[in-house]
């Protein structure tokens, strides 16, 4: 870890300690000690080095493992959940009636699924991120239940968990983990979706100074109609140390019992229909000042931390869904015959299964790699990695479900089969928890900001006349032009990648190196205005996502071969195929990012868009129109 990183970690740990008293820290692999929560950023883990053209080997190799004891425990936990979902959950009925039956809800509560990550001392299961990811893989069999549970614990009560004080935890967590109380996360407003910092709900201090009066309207609140405890974000006037009054966002724990809270009628949605989504209105709701989470005015950070901490699980949710679909669809493809051959013998059908298998493999690899990194001691900030998992998994799930439906042809379109329900349920994945567009910007900008800082530092050093730095940069340039070979030490002595993945490991190294130079040249070309170049940022994000997926896949496959997991040959095949494809995609994207690149149509694209949006309609004349 760089010196910068070390300083940041120690500072974060110290300040984190203030925020959380004794519960600061991160999950340990010792299953006897309780698992904690990481709180304060900011020691970015792996992605940041990619932007500098470096591979932080230690962070991602070897692939994270859990102890035998934990694995045993996990398998024990998985069994009853699988049984419950295969026998007692009627997803079709839940979708049709747009409601989760009370018996199913009690079953989920009794199983203990409402407090998976809440520490045992507050009545929860105290699961680590990795174990949580494993369990939601099974829960993904029913999307409405997944969203209901996630809205409750991954975001609804997470604020109390990661930023609440002892008193708040002791008061609220026990009933929330048993499911006696359900939680919801209230951030989004009619005029503030992606632009979360612009929310208008307000908390005004009461005359006696003991309460905040909450006023505002929130929309798209999952569990909004059934929740008893809300984590609400609203603006509050804060006087900072210079005496200036600012309007910052604060996070509040609000009980429905406080009064003044009304929920609208449940939204009639395309998918996840069993999950309750509605408007929530607050009218002069009195919130005791003890219910502020963290500091007054520090709510936005709390919101971002909450959202960042749950995102990675979308990887295992999607993987679980696709694995199930592969089973169902393969059964059909193997038995259905046309032209005297089973569907499984046709190339285009085979391609779909290869796609689904690859995507599922990648999603799993990314999700558990990220979860494993998050479970490490220290305060690793995996928000960029988690965002990448979310982007890849949400889009991958949509594509795979669509292809699976296609294999079934007409039958896939019929409501008697679950495919159309899976498709409708999946469509929300790229939208909620941060739209993929916003997350791409986040991934690209965070990385480029980091790279920019380091590079500016180097340039300043050069300007100051630091000879060492100048020589280093010159040397690097010279080496590039003369010697095309790149070596980050993934192979060879101290190599971490298995020889059967050698080809693609070299391709990854090549890609990472070129990416580093691409980032440099982009920063040089655009400087600060890069913030507005969305199409550039999109490509940057796509490249990083590819690099991360390649890394995850190589790391996992290497481990599988080294320890001799069942079917590791198949894994190597998938890994190699996926990486080869990703490598070419990256090269194309990087070519498009070069200055005056002929492959880049961005300017034309922008022009078309502007003309259409100006007229707010399709602009071309009708093909049948005449002028004479």
């Amino acid at each position: 870890m760089s010196l910068n990183g070390l300083f940041r970690v120690s500072r974060a740990v110290k300040s984190g300690g203030k925020l959380l008293n004794k519960t600061c820290g991160v999950g340990s692999t010792d299953s006897q000690s309780p698992r904690f929560f990481r709180t304060h950023p900011r020691s970015l883990v792996y992605a940041k080095d990619l932007f500098l053209g470096n591979i932080a080997k230690k962070e991602v190799f070897p692939y994270p493992e859990i102890s035998n004891e934990e694995l045993d425990e996990l398998n024990q936990l998985v069994a009853p959940v699988e049984k419950f979902f295969s026998e007692d959950v009627d997803s079709k009925k839940i979708d049709e009636e747009a409601k989760i039956p009370p018996e199913t809800m009690s079953g989920l509560k009794e199983l203990g699924l409402f407090g998976m990550q809440v520490p045992e001392e507050y009545g929860g299961l105290g699961l680590s991120n990795t174990m949580y990811a494993r369990l939601v893989e099974i829960i993904s069999l029913d999307a409405a239940i997944t969203v209901t549970l996630a809205a409750h614990q991954a975001i609804g009560l997470k604020g109390i968990l990661i930023a609440g004080n002892e008193e708040q935890k002791a008061r609220y967590l026990p009933k929330l983990s048993s499911g006696e109380h359900v939680a919801a996360f209230c951030l989004t407003e009619p005029a503030s979706g992606s632009d979360a910092a612009s929310i208008q709900a307000r908390g005004t201090p009461s005359k006696d100074g003991k309460h905040f009066l909450l006023n505002g309207s929130k929309i798209w609140i999952s569990n909004g109609g059934i929740a008893d405890v809300f984590t609400v974000f609203a603006r509050t006037e804060v006087v900072d140390k210079d005496g200036n009054t600012k309007d910052n966002i604060s996070a509040f724990i609000v009980e429905r019992a406080f009064g003044g809270i009304t929920s609208g009628k449940p939204e009639d949605k395309m998918g996840i229909r069993g999950s309750n989504t509605c408007e929530v209105h607050f009218e002069n709701t009195p919130v005791p000042i003890e219910n502020v989470i963290g500091e007054v005015g520090g709510g936005f950070k709390v919101a971002m931390n909450i959202l960042n901490s749950g995102r990675f699980s979308m990887g295992s949710v999607s993987a679980g869904m696709i694995k199930k679909l592969i089973e169902l669809t393969a059964e059909y493809a193997g038995t259905r015959k046309q032209f005297n051959k089973s569907l499984a013998e046709f190339g285009m059908i085979q391609e779909k299964f290869a796609l689904m298998a690859q995507k599922a493999y990648v999603m799993e690899s990314m999700a558990y790699l990220t979860a494993g990194m998050m479970d490490r001691p220290g305060v690793p900030d995996c928000s960029v990695e988690a965002a990448m998992v979310k982007i890849f998994s949400s889009e991958g799930a949509w594509v795979c479900v669509s292809e699976a439906l296609q294999v079934l042809g007409g039958l896939g379109y019929i409501k008697d089969y679950p495919y159309e329900r899976y498709l409708r349920d999946c469509r929300i994945l790229p939208i909620f928890e941060g739209t993929n567009e916003i997350l791409r910007v986040y991934v690209a900008l965070t990385g480029m900001q980091y790279a920019g800082k380091i590079l500016t530092g180097k340039i300043m050093d050069m300007k100051k006349g630091n000879l060492g730095v100048v020589l280093e940069m010159l040397g690097k340039r010279l080496r590039d032009t003369v010697n095309k070979k790149v070596d980050f030490g993934l192979m060879g002595k101290d190599g971490v990648v298995h020889p059967s993945l050698m080809e693609n490991s070299k391709k990854l190294e090549e890609n990472v190196y070129s990416f580093g130079t691409t980032v440099e040249s982009l920063l040089y070309r655009f400087g600060k205005t890069i913030v507005d170049e969305q199409l550039v940022l999109k490509r940057v994000a796509d490249i990083v996502i590819n690099l991360y997926t390649m890394t995850a896949v190589l790391s996992r496959a290497s481990r599988s071969i080294s320890i001799g997991l069942r079917n590791h040959d198949h894994e190597v095949l998938i890994a190699n195929t996926f990486c080869a494809e990703a490598y070419f995609q990256n090269n194309y994207l990087m070519a498009q990012l070069e200055k005056n690149s002929p492959e880049n149509n961005d300017d034309s694209i922008k022009k078309i868009a502007m003309q259409v949006l100006e007229k707010r309609a399709y602009v071309c004349s009708h093909p049948l129109d005449r002028t004479f």
Binding site: Q76, A79, P80, L111, L113, L125, G126
Partner: protein, 254 residues
């Protein structure tokens, strides 16, 4: 009465798995195949736990005989509410030859050692389908037995057992200590909830060897071969009753 219930639980191949015979015909493929607790054993555990919850019994002990993996099955029983577990270590050749006779000797020895008032087991295991262990255990202990139980209630110092028999239902009253074997309709086993699984981690599982109990495991049976049942032949459609009679005569059935 000590109020101790001994429950036998067996680790078997999960009921939903498609069984495949090993190529050398010595048995079925168990490697890498999903295993779980025998469904009738689950019912037995549930009944024992309910008796304790009704305060009719004081302690439930779950017992399993087999290799290391049996501990998972015992843990499931602990998660369902059993108080402690006993793992009787049997592995290798001994495990392959472990049958109802050997298990019942072990159960009998344990019942005496733990001074149990009641032994409950599933009526049969879904792999062997022997339906012998409960009966043999009772005989070895010289205890009364209530088998194929669809309802069990405590009646003074004995038990009233409703048995499912071919002709219908039979009620018997047996004195305790006794052996009961659980049938399908005895109860609906509870799910092992995740919090209970976590709590079960703290419960103890003691390990013993059959030799410690004075039981020797030699088997009087030798498995000669294990084969798939014959493939079902397709039927033949006939046009008239006359044809049917002719066909039956030809095949020697008539």
């Amino acid at each position: 009465m000590s109020g101790r219930v001994l429950v036998g639980v067996k680790r078997v191949i999960d009921y939903a798995v498609k069984i495949r015979v090993k190529p050398d015909k010595t048995g079925v493929v168990t490697d890498g195949v999903k295993h779980s607790m025998n469904p009738f054993c689950e019912i037995a555990v549930e009944e024992a736990v309910r008796l304790r919850e009704k305060k009719l019994m004081k302690e439930v002990i779950a017992v399993s005989c087999g290799p290391q993996q049996c501990q998972e099955t015992i843990r499931t029983a602990l998660a369902m509410g059993a108080d402690r577990g006993i793992h009787v270590e049997v592995s290798g050749k001994d495990y392959e030859n472990l049958g109802p006779l050997q298990v019942s000797k072990i159960m009998a020895a344990l019942a005496k050692k733990e001074e149990a008032s009641l032994v409950i087991v599933g009526k049969q295991a879904i792999d062997g389908d022997c339906n012998q262990t409960g009966q043999m255990t009772a005989a070895l202990l010289d205890w009364p037995q209530g088998t194929f139980a669809s309802e069990v209630s405590v009646d003074g110092d004995g038990l009233k057992v409703e048995r499912e028999i071919d002709g219908g239902l039979e009620s018997v009253r047996i004195k305790m200590p006794a052996v009961v074997t659980a049938d399908l309709r005895l109860n609906e086993p509870r799910y092992a909830t995740l919090p209970n699984i976590m709590k079960a981690k703290k419960k103890k599982i003691a390990s013993v060897k059959p030799a410690d109990l004075g039981v020797e495991l030699t088997s009087r049976l030798e498995i000669l071969a294990v084969e798939d049942p014959p493939q079902r032949q397709s039927g033949v459609k006939v046009e008239s009753v006359q044809d049917l009679v002719t066909k039956l005569r030809d095949s020697g059935t008539l």
